[in-house]
Symmetry: C2
Subunit: 274 residues, 2 copies
């Protein structure tokens, strides 16, 4: 089967076009999409260059490409339409009904999404990231009073990337604390965590999956043995039940999904929006 190219065109980062396009193409089984992002198309030259890139694909005998685009400026959108492909343009489709509803003309200024329009949002995300780093793995500051949420779970259950994602994407202050032998032997959480009980959120994971992840780090030894992994997860379950800690099984979820489920379940507010 010949590879089909999917283009994501944008006058900005291309994140919106990528996210939208990815949602849609995953509805189709064809696994051999070649994905290509052409960001920052903000001059006539760049628009014409993009047209050449898109048309070059078909000259190589491939099926006509699919083109997701989120360009704001009509002038460059018109140029891009000259490219041979299936054009799916979110501004074409949604801007007009939105303008009618809001009784206002769109600004047609590029770069207001994902832009630095909001320095405050930038600072919040940076500060949340610093918080996550300083409060990672039970370490350093344990500044749990200002945390929005404190993730608990065994080593490699996904705590660190989830905390960083919550910080970068939503400006949420997420700390994490690893459950280790200390907790498993006593069956108890340390007092400084019990005091923050309503902020705790658990990450659980399937034993086989955890072994697989741990083996990437340390292939041999107790750390990734079936027995140890089962023991840790069994004891973790007891602790979650003992303290009534809400939790999510991370086995089948991406970092985005784990993060969304935490926000949804805890009701923690996003401090910034993507």
């Amino acid at each position: 089967m010949v590879e089909r190219t999917v283009f994501f065109l944008s006058d900005q980062t291309g994140v919106t076009a990528e996210t939208l396009g990815h949602s849609l193409i995953t509805q189709f089984s064809a696994k051999n999409f070649r994905q290509m992002t052409l960001p920052f198309i903000d001059t006539e030259d760049k628009a014409r260059e993009a047209v050449r890139t898109i048309n070059a694909v078909q000259e190589q005998g491939a099926p006509r490409p699919i083109v997701f685009s989120t360009l704001v400026q009509g002038e460059y959108r018109a140029i891009l339409k000259e490219a041979n492909g299936l054009h799916l343009d979110i501004f074409d489709v949604f801007l007009e009904p939105l303008a009618r509803e809001l009784d206002e003309e769109p600004s047609f200024e590029p770069g207001r999404a994902h832009g630095m329009s909001d320095i405050d949002a930038y600072m919040k995300r940076i500060e949340a990231t610093n918080f996550a780093l300083a409060n990672d793995d039970g370490g350093m500051s344990r500044n749990y009073d200002v945390a929005d949420v404190i993730l608990v779970g065994v080593s490699r259950s996904g705590k660190t990337p989830t905390c960083l994602y919550l910080a970068l994407q939503y400006g949420v202050y997420a700390a994490n604390y690893p459950l280790t032998d200390e907790e498993f032997e006593s069956g108890k959480l340390p007092d400084f965590l019990v005091k923050q009980k309503e902020k705790l959120f658990g990450l659980s994971i399937d034993p086989d999956r955890l072994r697989q992840i741990r083996k990437e780090r340390r292939p041999m030894g107790k750390y990734s043995s079936a027995q140890q992994v089962r023991f840790e997860l069994r004891e973790t379950g007891k602790i979650f039940r003992r303290y009534g800690i809400p939790n999510v099984d991370t086995t089948k979820f991406s970092i985005e999904e784990i993060s969304s489920r935490i926000l949804d379940s805890t009701g923690v507010e996003r401090r910034v929006r993507p």
Copy 2:
């Protein structure tokens, strides 16, 4: 002016609806949108609950809400359409032309975007995140041989969050190295960086903005003084020119934009896609 509510509905995380909707509403000047995400609408009960939430807004006398939705399953989409609002549904609009083009029926299975469909992608993002953490701030592993890119710049120019974003979003291996007095006095980069010259990418920043950011951390002293900040940025500029390091001014950009510009400028390939 009465607040207008914008809903983002999804049977998954809501990230796609949020990203799309945010791109569109930033085209309008109204600043007082109230944004609300209703994720994981994957049962009839949850769909009916969402309808109640949406309708409740108008009962309070507010203008009718704008509803961005990315639900896959027709059954729940039909229920949600009963809610009073301006519905902008990306699946309604784009799925049909895409199906025709690909000559294939969509699966209508929720959760294939942002899903754990790809364990390999999850692992890549986790590993890239661990790499960024271990190679942050010139520290620890300095495992630059396997880096895709090495960011250089002064303290607080945005290196750490950018590296973490590149890792989490794209699975890119991004290290960073801070420029400090050592480099400024000699005017030179250390040999282990010069050896990786083609991987270096610089972050520059406006002096006033850098002062503002540094003051958040340490309000007093040399670190955030006008003189020091100007000195560091002047010397940084010399080093960028001496070694021909491509660079981006982070002053006006969000973390997404800085990241996209780095990928665009260096040609580093995304290892995973959002």
